[in-house]
Amino acid sequence: MLARFRGFAQAGATLMSNIHLPNFFRGEIYRGAGKAVCVPGLNCYSCPGAAASCPIGALQATIGSSHFRFAYYITGILILFGVLLGRFICGFLCPFGWFQELAHKLPTKKLSTRRLKPLRYAKYAVLLALVLLLPALLTNDLGMGSPYFCKYLCPQGVLEGALPLALANSGIRAALGSLFSLKLAVLLAVIIASVVFFRPFCKWICPLGALYALFNKVSLLRLQVDPLRCVSCGRCAKVCKMDVDVTTAPNHSECIRCGMCIGACPNEAIRFRYGFGAKGVDATRQCDETSI
């Protein structure tokens, strides 16, 4: 049932993450108190409308700082998000995830990513190298490290930050150079890939998705498959666009909790669960109980 409103939730989350709409016309960035916290999804700090900071941007800024010892605050926030929601954030609350899904709606031939499963590990490499290690290790003479992911790879930064700012602010426009060209190329490549594949950035590149993926197994929000109702028809695995078989792994690190499997199941065997004590597969339930 929750899955029916996913589109609205994604739209709403995108709006709430970028609530300062007049700033788009002013070509300015909101710098108020909201920026002391992070939105859960991948949303650029430099987006004119951004209500809060980007968790990945904040992580790199903290790690790259010359005073850096450990990013206590931001790690705490990420653990909190991960444990409370896990990759539900990817499925419902991330503006860039929504953007990719919108691009995917374009009527073209679609390619499956089922055979490209090894690429999934690339996002962990992006997280480890560009977000965690390089800002800490590759520093200037003052001990300051660059936010390497934001600077060289993140397409959301171009889409939400550079493009809107350049449109409204002549100073930014004049400052665009070769780095912008590189990032724009990355954005275009991701857009094209999103039309053909389902959420390629989320699967293969996003370091935030990689982080939340690690929490999926311990997250309070989970999926549960009732073994007494499941008839092993395989429809859930077939419809899953993240290439997950929910019957064998209901809390797989690639599951973004979109709920398409729930909709496909003929027997209502799959459901969302929230809270402690919920197991992935509930073997103790009685036959005659009905699910909500």
């Binding site: 709409l21 007049p22 070509g27 800024a61 200037n140 003052l142 300051m144 490290g145 930014i172 004049a174």
Partner: protein, 295 residues
């Protein structure tokens, strides 16, 4: 269900407009203040133009004599920017070329110079009013916000410093900004080059605003490491200039300010260690120096 979503969406769309309303009011107030000034200036500009026309009329009155002298001049200073210089320039040139004229002709020319000098005094009195904005085309000159603060050694600094420099390059940065820190050495070079021309670079580290001692110490450490010896200033957090910095889309950002405290051209975004950025900035510095020379 759809109606509910529609209503919800409508409400959330109205929400940010209210939230940003307070911040939005400030820039529009500034804008209306700017447009209020030119209409009063319009009358003054009219009078200024009349005075200049009178000066030209004096010269035309004895055209044949003046032409002889003007031929001896290799450059003609612009009449519009500071009339005072012109009469002095004329009398100096006349002194150097006395033998060209008979005594009687000399007397005529010197009387003309006296009359021109009087008109110049009247021009100067008109100028005293508002911005020295005698160029009618340039009605949209933007003044750099007035400020008062202290430099990182505690010395008092305020916007009167602009009057003492032919051009002032104002750079905004903060301590954890990698790009800002990277250009500090170049800014120091620029400062030394400008000092020879009567200009200067000053820096504002936004972390130090409000006088936070830790931030000031950190800024000083960074400046020392990068051998940047030019003045850096901190101001109070609620001030006009501090509010302006909240609206900057990025750092480092550099303004060129002329002697009258007006911003020349658009602010330049990016570090001047990038040659393309330095080119943009240098063009504005050159414009400001040129304008200053003519006044």
């Amino acid at each position: 269900m759809k109606k509910l979503m529609g209503a919800f969406l409508a409400m959330t769309l109205l929400f940010p407009l209210a939230a940003c309303g307070a911040k939005g009011a400030a820039p529009s107030n500034e804008a209306s203040e700017d447009t209020a000034a030119p209409s009063a200036d319009g009358e003054r500009d009219e009078e200024i133009r009349e005075k200049i026309a009178e000066i030209n009329a004096v010269l035309e009155g004895n055209a044949e004599l003046w032409n002889q002298l003007i031929e001896k001049m290799d450059t003609q200073p612009n009449l519009i920017y500071d009339g005072k210089v012109y009469s002095q320039y004329l009398s100096e040139t006349l002194d150097a070329n006395r033998d060209l004229f008979s005594d009687k002709e000399l007397q005529v020319l010197m009387e003309d110079i006296e009359r021109i000098k009087m008109l110049e005094d009247e021009l100067a009195a008109l100028d005293e009013g508002g911005t020295r904005n005698t160029d009618a085309r340039d009605a949209s000159q933007k003044a750099f916000p007035a400020f008062e603060g202290r430099d990182l050694d505690g010395k008092k600094v305020d916007s009167s410093l602009f009057a003492g420099n032919a051009v002032t390059v104002v750079n905004f940065w903060f301590s954890s900004c990698e790009a800002c820190v990277a250009e500090l050495g170049k800014l120091d070079e620029l400062n030394r080059a400008l000092q020879e021309k009567g200009g200067a670079v000053i820096g504002f580290n936004t972390d130090t605003f409000g006088g936070d001692e830790k931030a000031i110490a950190e800024a000083k450490g960074i400046l020392e490491k990068k051998s940047a010896r030019y003045q850096n200033v901190w101001i109070e957090k609620g001030s006009d200039l501090a509010d302006l910095t909240n609206g900057f889309a990025g750092y480092p950002i550099t303004f060129v300010v002329d002697r009258n405290g007006n911003i020349v051209g658009d602010p330049v975004l990016g570090g001047i260690d990038n040659p393309a950025v330095m080119e943009l900035l240098q063009a504005q510095i050159d414009t400001a120096l040129q304008q200053d020379k003519q006044s």
